[in-house]
């Protein structure tokens, strides 16, 4: 990884985290107001939860990207039940999804077993789910199937989809970042790196971003050999 890429990521990530923090502080202030309505209070608590999860993911990614740069991120590939990994991410975000009134569905054969680092891949999927929960209209669908030598996991939504520049080059950090999407970009970059670190014989993992898909919104796919 080039140093300039890392600097760019660092800058955008710090910006995003400061954003999240100011939103958190704002929500706390608003929650402290005496005349706040029950409805408003619920909204602010939801925002609080979302921004805190995003902050947590940002920090994980920052640490992760730094360690990839230093060549010190161990990948522990072992056998896992894919449904379980996916469901764990749902369980982590149960409250958030509930608050955003998002329908969440996992379409995955419970018998599928695959080989990957469950913590890293779980983290990647978790981040995508947190972001999609925010941007989708009302549904998130996670699918998983074996395609030849690869396992393909997709996170689909019915929101506005990914911006054009991210569709083109998901695995390079974005110049002239749209700061509102800062964390998404870092998360996607991290996802691409984690996918690449999964190798089997001559195959390497990769990711893909598309718009459309089964729900007409954004589709994030990760392919693991």
């Amino acid at each position: 990884m080039k140093n300039s890429d890392f600097d760019l990521l660092l800058a955008s990530c710090i910006h995003d985290m400061k954003n999240a923090l100011s939103l958190i502080l704002n929500s706390i202030d608003r929650l402290g107001e005496e005349d706040i309505s029950a409805e408003k209070s619920k909204l602010f608590r939801t925002n609080l939860r979302y921004e805190a999860s995003r902050l947590n993911n940002d920090l994980i990614h920052l640490l992760g990207v730094y360690r990839i740069k230093e060549d010190a991120l161990p990948v522990m590939i072992d056998e896992h039940e894919v449904w379980e990994t996916l469901n764990d991410q749902y369980l982590k975000n149960e409250k958030l999804l509930e608050k955003y009134l998002v329908n969440f569905e996992i379409a995955c054969d419970e018998d599928i077993i695959w080989y990957y680092d469950s913590e890293l891949i779980g983290g990647v999927i978790n981040n995508i789910i947190v972001n999609t929960a925010r941007y989708t209209e009302d549904t998130v669908l996670v699918t998983c199937e074996e395609q030849g030598d690869y396992l393909c996991i997709q996170v689909c939504d019915d929101g506005p989809g990914y911006p054009e520049n991210m569709l083109q080059h998901p695995d390079t950090p974005q110049k002239g970042l749209d700061f509102m999407n800062g964390s998404t970009s870092l998360g996607i970059f991290f996802a691409a790196k984690v996918a690449q670190m999964h190798n089997r014989h001559e195959h390497s993992g990769y990711i893909k971003l598309e718009n459309g898909g089964p729900l007409g919104g954004g589709v994030f796919s990760i392919y693991l050999p």
């Binding site: 947590n56 990948v75 522990m76 590939i77 056998e79 379980e84 469901n87 913590e119 089997r200």
Partner: protein, 547 residues
């Protein structure tokens, strides 16, 4: 999710934060759990497991100052304090990932990442308990230590359509290793690797190759493990062992230091590092490692007066061997403080005697002759009164006589001991390490043989082998000047033939520093000085190359 009821299960929560214990307790209460014990640290946790038999243990990885969660698990398993049907769940934070992936030997049944949600907690519990039930017969055989039967049961399980194939393979590999069937284990691991480069199989394969004495293959396999997982402690230790075996003790020390950087919290590893440092005449390194041992042992297990005495002895050696007067003073002071603390802490007369003897050397190292003499006399008096005949007291006495310049007295006792313990190979070997010429009959024979074999190799031009052979011998006869000088000579010829490396020059230096400064009428003086000169030149050469 299936409604579950855990009212008949016994739980243990280990976390140094009471607030987190409460959060977890509340989540468990919501699942109808009734019987929940807690512990604030590792020692309490181990104590709890001695008292009760738990169905599920939740243990935080980071337990503050004492031992961490992984070490709790290690201790519990090593002392058979966990039934194999007990579910052990490690609770981690992002920052503990390194340590968690660092050890393959002791794996919990599952991990939970903080922050935990009730859904995740239940999902993990259901899965683990289901797995334990499905594989119960295998776990039971393992509990009975009937490994052959357990292997057979793994094979049976894999013959059917099972979700647990991976677990069975892993377990079978492990059991084959425990039975010493290394070739079978290696075949199993290689089969797995041919399919998928799973990490546990790569490490298993390295360890099996190591046990099969295929040291070059094992070395390559361990190095591959470190490349994939730079925090794999077992791999560093494996390489270190192979290096010791090859006589390359400075590389061994380097590897152990690497693994200590990742996790310095293992008492056995720090003890091993202490030993290797001493072999390498790196007494400051030995003092540092034994300091960690004392500090770690304070929090419970492995605690003993031996650790304190060992630390004081290493500090004293560091004071004796450094040229820096300031440093020597600091080391000696630390040693004396430690010893006085030890003398207060323990009433055992032997500990008092040994402590006084080390104290005498510590004073002597900074030229406080009167104090040194006083401590020595105190110890002599106590030995007479006590008359327990403890051999360790006698050995410490020998060391103190040598340090205080009373060589005759030292040699007299050594010869008496050599005769009294001539049928005890371990003590004979220890006695031989106290002096330049071995005192035991077997030691004397060994030195003759070593010199003969080494010189044979040397004369055939096998300089590298000869060097390794002599260096390996210094582990047993660290004070033997002839072996040290022979090692240096072989190293220098090897360097002349194959070119210098940093490691080889370091080895020259280590051996040279183990030879005391010789007076110019000493028969070996000429040889010694010419070696010293050559090594000095090599150092300059290497420094130029690097800059």
């Amino acid at each position: 999710m299936v409604p579950t009821d855990y009212s008949d299960k016994k739980f243990l929560i280990v976390d140094d934060f009471e607030s987190f214990q409460k959060i977890l307790k509340r989540m468990l209460h919501a699942l109808n759990a009734q019987d929940i014990e807690t512990a604030l640290n590792g020692v309490q946790a181990i104590h709890q497991c001695q008292e009760h038999s738990f169905d599920v243990v939740f243990c935080d990885f980071d337990l503050g100052k004492g031992i961490n969660g992984l070490q709790v698990l290690e201790e519990l398993r090593r002392n058979d304090l966990l039934r194999s049907s007990t579910v052990f769940i490690m609770i981690t934070a992002e920052s503990s990932r390194d340590a968690v992936v660092g050890s393959m030997e002791y794996k919990p049944d599952a991990y939970l990442n903080k922050p935990i949600t009730p859904g995740e907690l239940q999902s993990r519990l259901v899965k683990c308990l289901k797995q334990k039930t499905a594989l119960e017969p295998i776990y039971k055989s393992m509990d009975r230590k009937d490994f052959a039967k357990a292997i057979q049961q793994c094979d049976e399980e894999m013959a059917g359509n099972t979700r647990h194939k991976n677990w069975c393979l892993k377990t079978k590999g492990n059991l084959l290793c425990r039975l010493g069937q290394w070739q079978e284990a290696q075949d199993l691991y290689q089969d797995v690797i041919d399919q998928r480069p799973l990490f546990w199989a790569q490490l298993g394969s390295a360890q099996a190759l190591d046990a099969l004495k295929k040291s070059d293959d094992a070395l390559a396999a361990y190095q591959q493990c470190i490349k994939e997982n730079p925090s794999c402690l077992e791999a560093y230790e494996g390489i270190s062992r192979i290096m010791m075996e090859k006589g390359d003790t400075s590389s061994a020390q380097h590897m152990l230091e690497q693994s200590s950087k990742i996790s310095a919290r293992s008492v056995p590893r720090q003890k091993l590092l202490t030993k290797v440092c001493k072999i390498n005449h790196d007494f400051e390194g030995a003092a540092k490692a034994s300091r960690s041992v004392v500090k770690l042992a304070e929090y419970g297990m492995h605690k003993s007066s031996d650790n304190d005495l060992e630390l004081a002895d290493n500090l004293t050696e560091a004071a004796i061997h450094t040229d820096d007067k300031k440093k020597a003073k600091a080391f000696a002071k630390e040693a004396i403080d430690k010893l006085q603390e030890t003398q207060k802490k323990y009433t055992d007369p032997d500990i008092k005697i040994q402590s006084k003897l080390i104290e005498s050397r510590a004073y002597s190292s900074i030229d406080k002759k009167n104090e040194a003499q006083a401590s020595l006399i105190d110890a002599e008096k106590r030995i007479k009164e006590n008359a327990s005949g403890n051999v360790k007291n006698q050995m410490e006495l020998v060391k103190s006589y040598f340090q205080n310049g009373e060589k005759e007295k030292a040699l007299t006792i050594l010869e008496e001991l050599a005769d009294a313990y001539k049928d005890d190979p371990e003590i004979s070997a220890q006695l031989d390490q106290l002096t330049d010429e071995p005192v035991s009959a077997s030691g004397k024979r060994k030195v003759v043989r070593i010199n003969k074999n080494g010189i044979d190799m040397f004369e055939k031009g096998e300089y590298e082998q000869a060097a390794q052979y002599f260096i390996k011998a210094t582990q047993h006869f660290p004070k033997h000047m002839g072996i040290r000088l022979n090692a240096i000579q072989a190293l220098l010829f090897d360097i002349k033939k194959n070119g210098p490396t940093i490691n080889k020059v370091t080895q020259c230096n280590q051996n040279l520093s183990a030879v005391p400064d010789l007076p110019d009428n000493h028969p070996q003086f000429k040889r010694y000085s010419s070696f010293k000169q050559s090594i000095g030149k090599l150092q300059v050469l290497l420094k130029d190359k690097r800059s």
